[in-house]
Amino acid sequence: MAVAETIGLQDFYRAGDRPLPVRALRAVLGFIRAKPLGAFGALILILVVGVGIFSPWIADDPTTVHLSDALTGPSSKYWFGTDHNGRDVFSRIVYGCQITALVGIGTVILVTFLSLIVGLPSGYFGGRYDFFLQRLVDIWLSFPAIFLILTLVAVLQTSSGSGFFGLGRGPEVGPNPVDGFWFWYTFPRTTIVILSLGLVLAGGASRVVRSATIATRANPYVEAGVVIGATNSRIILRHVLPNIMPTMIVLATLQLGTAILAEATISFLGVGITNFPTWGQMLSGRTRDLAERHMYLALFPGLAIFLAVYGFNMLGDALRDVLDPRLRGSR
């Protein structure tokens, strides 16, 4: 096991002077061989993003109502069946990929950015500055994540006509995503959800950044940098930041799963992005009553969420073993 774990990177370095694409390909193949489940996670990630981007070409309009076909089981016409409004479940899952990918990736970028802003200086400078900043993080971490997320979404959405930052709230009922640029319809709500998720998840992430920074700071090359008179910002940006990159990549992948699960949860509760099909939303409302007779209604969106989160966790675990063995067992 221990030998196999590092194969990915070793292949990358050992390939020596071969051209970069060849080395990258070998590293990827090595990763697939050593970590099949991690590779499965990567495949899921590509799939979710790809299906999200190409959804208009993959599935029909998810908002079309086929009333005469309402609540029919999976068939060759409706692969995953239809819901009580006669909407195609497969189309809704395909379009749901857009929200999953957008919220997941948007949140991860925000979390990475925020946790670096808080964690890097806190770990690098230490002392009183660190103490003060960490007490602030303590306060933020004293709330259950979902409480803060729901509260933030509610506060940001309670707003007048011009809406949050003048973005408006978007129409209550989803537009036809097939024609027109659907993105702008959900933009205000998606932004609010990403902001809330990002702000809340950044607290825990900044702790990881901080401890990685402290560990990196102890290296002789940082000391050498101080000795030759490098400025703090130069040391942080040129020496510490590149060296905590592996940790950041692992952290981002694991946060992707967390963010998607959180988005699905608030969608299930009927909060957040309500004017566009999302996976969590498909499990809420009447689905629970209908699931007894029409199990597929709950099964497909539930499995979609499960597979995405499972895949991203697996990918994160595999990346951790390859890139940052120090973190092993921390989750």
């Binding site: 509260t151 499990l283 629970r288």
Partner: protein, 380 residues
């Protein structure tokens, strides 16, 4: 030791103050016209009462006891108030139509009512004043009055906290009962098929949404066993059977979700301990494998696990929100969700504050337990 605990308790105070600053700041994030939206959306009602209060005040100012005023007195005073509003709007009182009069009455009532809400929320004061008056009341156990139904928030919380504690403790028990035995098996049989199976299941448990699991469980029980959950919640001491019927399944789902993290940690800790010299010594002395694992390894591996169980409190409270919602259990988390959907800000602030306090205290208890269980830990 006593000094350490005292230091930690003292450190709790600024954290609690910070938490209360954050929760009251959430109110301040609201746009200026939030109260208008609450009233216009019909989410809070009571304009009529506000109008009556104004008339009462005017009657009292006129030297008449509002409780004893005759209907004619009251009607006359109402007319005076309405006429004043009409004048303010520049409408000739003599020529005003019935509709205009009605509208004027509504305007007066709503303005008074909105002002009353703003005052109750402390939005008429600046942030520091608002926070200090809220905090002063909160310290005395008064968390304000709910906007809907005018019930004190603390009363509602008192009713709901035991419910949440029951669900939380059961959930935690389930997760410990799953995670520790299976985590130990996983470590002892490292890299065997049991280990791979259990580890995959642990990651699956982390990834499966509780609302999905709950939906499927309800649907399967109903379809194949024709079983449905009790619709109405009953207190544990009133009707133990109904209560347990409703709480056990959510607790199981909650426990399964939590057990993923715990199982992986138990496994990691056991592997760490099994590599230690004293385990090798015990084996060298000729102790049987089972005895070594049970008496020497588990006890030492449990120390960090105890602390992680304590650190799961926020996850536990957060996780119970969805389950309380699905199964109709009137716990604290569900109260928060209801308050958020009703935009009931005093309740939102109250619940967040109470839960955060519980979590901070739990963290303190965890740290102290850790020191007690493992004397090697440096007191910092």
């Amino acid at each position: 030791m006593a000094q350490y605990i005292a230091r930690r308790v003292l450190l709790m105070i600024p954290t609690l103050i910070g938490v209360s600053l954050v929760v009251t700041a959430l109110l301040r994030l609201l746009p200026a016209d939030a109260v208008d939206i609450l009233v216009a959306g019909g989410e809070v009602q009571g304009g009529g009462a506000a109008f009556k209060e104004i008339v009462d005040a005017r009657l009292a100012a006129d030297g008449k006891d509002p409780t004893k005023a005759t209907i004619t007195d009251r009607a006359r005073m109402e007319n005076v108030v309405i006429n004043e509003e009409l004048k303010k709007q520049g409408i000739d009182v003599e020529k005003a139509t019935e509709t205009q009069k009605k509208e004027a009455k509504n305007t007066v009532a709503l303005t008074a009512y909105k002002d009353a809400i703003r005052e109750r929320l402390g939005l008429d004061k600046n942030y520091i004043e608002q926070w200090s008056s809220w905090a002063l009341n909160a310290v005395q156990g008064d968390l304000g009055v709910s906007l809907i139904g005018s019930r004190p928030v603390s009363d509602e919380l008192k009713r709901r906290i035991p419910v949440s504690i029951e669900l939380g403790i059961l959930g935690m028990l389930v997760s410990v009962c799953i995670a520790i035995p299976f985590g130990v098996i996983s470590a002892v049989k490292q890299d065997g098929w049991a280990d791979y199976g259990l580890r995959s299941m642990a990651i699956a448990a982390l990834a499966i949404p509780s609302f999905f699991l709950a939906t499927i469980v309800i649907a399967v029980l109903s379809r194949f066993w024709n079983y449905s959950f009790p619709v109405k919640y009953a207190e544990l001491w009133d009707d133990p059977k109904t209560n347990l019927e409703l709480v056990v399944v959510p607790a199981l789902i909650l426990g399964v979700g939590l057990s993923g993290t715990l199982l992986r940690l138990t496994r990691a800790q056991m592997l760490e301990v099994l590599r230690q010299d004293y385990i090798r010594t015990a084996r060298a002395k000729g102790l049987a494998g089972r005895g070594v694992v049970m008496r020497h390894a588990i006890r030492n591996a449990l120390v960090p696990i105890v602390t992680v169980v304590g650190l799961q409190v926020p996850v536990l409270v957060g996780g119970s929100l969805v389950l309380e919602q699905i199964f109709g259990i009137p716990g604290v988390a569900r109260y928060l969700f209801e308050s958020i959907s009703n935009r009931d800000f005093p309740a939102i602030i109250g619940v967040n504050m109470v839960v955060a306090t519980v979590i901070i205290v739990a963290n303190l208890v965890v740290d102290v337990t850790y020191v007690v269980l493992d004397p090697r830990v440096r007191l910092a």
